[in-house]
């Protein structure tokens, strides 16, 4: 099979890899780079678990090919914060219990991080709208919404 030489920046680190044209970006991140924080729940673009930041915008990595990421910048959940030093959005999710099984969480965190940059002071409806493309089977979304509100406060306090 034909392959491509591709270079992509993920969480600030540059990777050069040879990829098959059909390799999904989600599989590339998870299995080639070992960044397994990005989850796949449907592989058909609905659940949002695989969302990453693609040049700063939330994008579904299951709907893209790795080859398309050539010379682009990607941020995955691993790029937000660390166990010792959680990102304010991650911290807020912990305090507000915005996760249960945590499977949907990485996609929600990336989506929410970009959203709060665009809209630092959202109301409840805007938050619900913003995360409506991310399915969560555990939480009923309420604590997620609370977490986003709390995250907005934390980020504003930081400024």
């Amino acid at each position: 099979m034909q392959t491509f030489q591709r270079s992509v920046t993920v969480n600030g680190e540059r990777f050069e890899r040879t990829v098959e044209p059909r390799l999904l970006l989600s599989d590339f991140l998870r299995h080639e780079l070992g960044l397994t924080g990005t989850h796949v729940g449907c592989e058909h673009g609905i659940c949002g678990a695989c969302s990453v930041l693609f040049d700063g915008q939330p994008a579904r990595s299951c709907l893209m090919f790795a080859a398309q990421a050539h010379e682009h910048e990607i941020v995955t959940v691993e790029g937000l914060g660390t166990i010792e030093n959680l990102h304010p959005v991650q911290q807020a999710f912990r305090e507000a219990h915005g996760l249960q099984c945590g499977f949907c969480t990485p996609g929600i965190l990336t989506t929410v991080t970009a959203f709060l940059e665009r809209n630092p002071n959202p109301d409840e409806n805007e938050i619900r709208e913003a995360i409506s493309g991310n399915l969560c089977r555990c939480t009923g979304y309420q604590h997620i919404v609370d977490a986003v509100k709390l995250a907005a406060k934390k980020l504003q306090a930081q400024e």
Binding site: E20, R22, L23, R30, H31, G34, L35, T36, G37, T38, H39, V40, G41, C42, E43, H44, G45, I46, C47, A49, T76, V77, E78, L80, G81, T82, I83, L86, Q90, F93, R94, E95, H97, L99, Q100, C101, G102, F103, C104, T105, P106, L109, E124, I127, R128, E129, I131, S132, G133, N134, L135, C136, R137, C138, T139, G140, Y141, Q142, H143, I144
Partner: protein, 780 residues
């Protein structure tokens, strides 16, 4: 009792890993040289398999092996029953037919696995699976539940005389006599269809065989790692200690992740041993719709008899339950339904017979609620009809019938899913009902707001639905609690965790006994090498059964700590207190010794150990309840319906819940929110559409609609606590509670909102479309 850690809104120990992408899920397990599996699944729901030709697939570049039922030789045999057949109940019929690793002669549901391809990558395995050629002889498909049980129906299992899988009759009192006394008798047919559990993580298995060490390690998205380990060992001819099953972080369970076995769960370890290479299989979403179990399908013929004051004199409910192609889970679901038809009401006369039908649908096993929502839907709908008939208020008819606080323990006189007498242990049901009514402002809404809004032309409705949840059944769970020399505490238990926060709530239970920070307690669940006695996470039993085992073990460890510290500090045990990882003399706090030092002293490297003592500050303990603890709750909601578009907007949603002692309100509320969202799905969004050929028409998230953040209302939760007398912590389960009364509540609310329309909701799930059809059918 004054508690320091239990009952507090403690943030979770497991979150930092989950939030940073560092938590290991099954699909994250990676090995060099790992192979990948893909299954060829039947397109037909019912067909004879005439020929399977895998020759092209075997030659496909990158393919290592292809297996069919034939290739398995003597290793091919059906799975064991997961729940043992009913032993003692009189006149029970039960035909056990279990799923097979790969189809041999006949396909019994669409999606059943016919062959497995093992290749260097998942991509290749899927390509090669397409190269397999199967010759089928399609058979007539069995779907309709009544027709399935008719004498002339085609049979799902040829060796049985009919599609009757099981039958059970249970009664209390004398329904026929009660009916004669009744002023009002109402009879209806109620139909409930299937939905999916749809955990965000699909199933998956990784198996690694160490040929030299003769040891098998399996990572499995299971809710019950210990039974899987024991079963695998038996199947593969290994001793149990040669098999380690790890259920790592699991992306949601909700019931279907407990099976014995899923075909893939049996096959992947078998293949790994055969090929002596690590093998991974990860289900995709479409497979999840076709190969992971589902639930809810039932048809009820129910009759309720009441006196003029709205008191229930008796209920008769005969129903058919759809078990799908096989029945590995025994009678759990239909018995749960039977047990919940009486709800939390004082009902003296009850008669119920269920029949379980084999059909060409996917296997049914419990999904969050497990038969209970059907039972509650049936009784609550009938009460609504009775209230209408009697011109009575919806809340009032319920209040009149609830079991009173002095009547506990209350005997329902039938058996429950564990074949133990159904006894409701404790509670104050009317207080919970009142709490829900007060929270939603029932009186005021009905008397003032609703009439005003109706005048404005708004279709607003209110509903209230009480329910019981039988939880926390046996047989038992265990836990080992160890104080380490670091001063931290290690806890191991056998159940698995799928997001319920056990890493934190169990740590709180330990902290309460031992006086240590919750974050200093490390909990392991779901790894058979850490703890290998137990059954699993089901029936909302984690916090009850495993929680109490953790409590029992930590109490013993506390005793050991006190005994040793008393020696070290030279003070009687009664004068000691455990706090901040230290044991102190209460009156002289500067005289203290740390838990770490005590742990070191308890495990000396030299010197003599007194006879009869055990080393270390450790204990393993078990808890098995006498019978299940029953939680009680009441949901209430206010909706606004648009009679043109049939969109239902939920304006308020309140939950009053009594599940005994609350370990962590934050986690509890999260469980309820999640349950309600699934219940709303079961009410208005999530229906699995099977066509007449037994194919699913909506096997993707684009077509099968899960509730998203914009449909979910904000939920207000109120707690009451009636500790269960059946265990020391006083806990009752809550994992499934949120989902149980929602369809009943939803139907009542929509019916109340569209008060001027002549129609009856007697089915679930509905949809805007379904509601539209229902309204137009009635007015035609």
């Amino acid at each position: 009792m004054d508690r320091k850690y239990i009952g507090k809104r403690v943030v979770r120990n497991e979150d930092p890993r989950l939030l940073t992408g560092q938590a290991q899920f099954v699909d994250d397990v990676q090995f060099p040289g790992m192979l990948h599996a893909a299954f060829l699944r039947s397109e037909y729901a019912h067909a004879r398999v005439l020929k399977v030709d895998v020759s092209k697939a075997r030659e496909y570049p990158g393919v290592v092996a292809v297996f069919t039922a034939e290739d398995m030789g003597r290793d091919w045999f059906p799975g064991p029953p997961l729940v043992s057949p009913p032993p003692t109940v009189k006149d029970v019929i039960f035909h056990s037919r279990r799923q097979v690793p790969l189809v041999k002669d006949k396909v019994r549901h669409a999606g059943e696995a016919v062959a497995v391809v093992i290749a260097e990558s998942r991509y290749i395995a899927e390509d090669a699976a397409e190269q397999i050629e199967v010759e089928y002889e399609p058979l007539e498909v069995v779907l309709d539940l009544e027709k399935a049980l008719a004498a002339d129906s085609p049979r799902v299992h040829d060796d049985l005389e009919s599609n009757l899988a099981a039958q059970l009759f249970q009664k209390k009192g004398d329904y026929e006599a009660a009916r004669k006394e009744a002023e009002v008798v109402i009879k209806r047919r109620i139909v409930i269809e299937r939905g999916a559990a749809a955990a965000m993580e699909n199933r998956g298995i990784v198996a690694q065989w160490d040929a030299k060490g003769r040891h098998l390690t399996v990572w499995d998205t299971t809710q019950a790692p210990i039974p899987i380990r024991n079963g695998l060992a038996a199947r593969l001819g290994l001793s149990e200690s040669q098999v380690r099953v790890i259920a790592p972080f699991i992306g949601g369970g909700f019931g279907p992740k407990i099976m014995m076995f899923y075909p893939e769960e049996m096959l992947i370890p078998w293949v790994a041993m055969k090929l002596n290479r690590p093998v991974k299989w990860i289900e995709d979403r479409r497979e999840n719709f076709y190969a992971t179990t589902q639930e809810r399908g039932q048809v009820h013929d129910v009759e309720i008899a009441l006196d003029r004051d709205g008191r229930i004199l008796g209920i008769k409910d005969d129903f058919i339950h759809d078990t799908g192609a096989y029945d590995p889970y025994g009678l759990t679901i239909p018995i749960n339904t039977q047990c919940h038809v009486m709800g939390g009401y004082d009902i003296k006369n009850f008669s119920s017979e269920f029949r379980v039908a084999f059909t060409n649908r996917i296997i049914a096993t419990p999904v969050r609620g497990a038969g209970r929502p059907q039972g509650i839907f049936v009784i609550e709908r009938m009460l609504d009809l009775a209230a209408r008939e009697l011109g009575m208020d919806a809340a009032e008819i319920r209040r009149r019938n609830l079991i009173q606080p002095h009547a506990f323990p209350y005997q329902h006189e039938i058996v429950d899913q564990a074949f133990a007498p159904l006894v409701l242990d404790s509670g104050n049901y009317p207080a919970v009902l009142d709490k829900a009514l007060e929270m939603i402002g029932y009186e005021k809404f009905v008397k003032e707001e609703q009439p005003r809004l109706r005048k404005e032309g708004k279709y607003v409705g209110i509903a209230v639905a009480p329910f019981i949840e039988t939880t926390g059944i046996g047989p038992y769970e265990g836990a080992r609690v160890t104080v380490e020399t670091s001063g931290r505490v290690n806890v191991a238990t056998g159940i698995g965790t799928q997001g319920q926060g056990h890493f934190t709530s169990f740590a709180q239970v330990v902290a309460e006994q031992i006086g240590i920070k919750v974050s200093d307690v490390r909990v392991t669940t779901g790894d058979t090498s850490e703890f290998h006695w137990g059954t699993g996470t089901f029936a909302s039993r984690g916090a009850v059964v495993a929680g109490n085992a953790v409590h029992a073990a930590s109490s013993i460890v506390r005793g050991k700590i006190l005994k040793l510290a008393s020696k070290v500090l030279g003070a009687p045990e009664a004068e000691l207190e455990l706090e901040d990882g230290q044991v102190r003399i209460a009156d002289i706090p500067q005289k203290s010794v740390s838990l770490g030092e005590l742990a070191a002293l308890a495990n000396p490297l030299r010197g003599a150990v007194e006879p009869g003592t055990e080393p270390g500050l450790e204990s393993t303990a078990y808890f098995g309840p006498q019978y299940g603890a029953t939680a009680f709750g009441t949901h209430a909601m206010i909706v606004e319906t648009d009679p043109e578009t049939m969109m239902v907007k939920i304006r308020r949603y309140v939950v009053a819940e009594d599940c005994g002692t609350v370990l962590n309100p934050l986690i509890l509320e999260g469980q309820i929110h999640g349950g309600v969202s699934m219940g709303l799905g079961n009410s208005y969004y999530e229906k699995l559409h099977y066509d007449e050929n037994g194919q699913l028409l909506n096997a993707s998230f684009a077509d099968y609609l899960l509730v998203s953040s914009t449909e979910m209302p904000r939920i207000e939760v109120g707690h009451l606590e009636t500790p269960s007398p059946l265990n020391e912590l006083g806990t009752k389960g809550v994992g499934e509670a949120g989902a149980i009364p929602v369809p009943a509540l939803f139907a009542q609310a929509v019916q109340n909102a569209l008060h001027d329309r002549d129609f009856e909701i007697l089915e679930m799930p509905l949809s805007p479309n379904g509601l539209f059809e229902l309204l137009n059918k009635e007015t035609e």
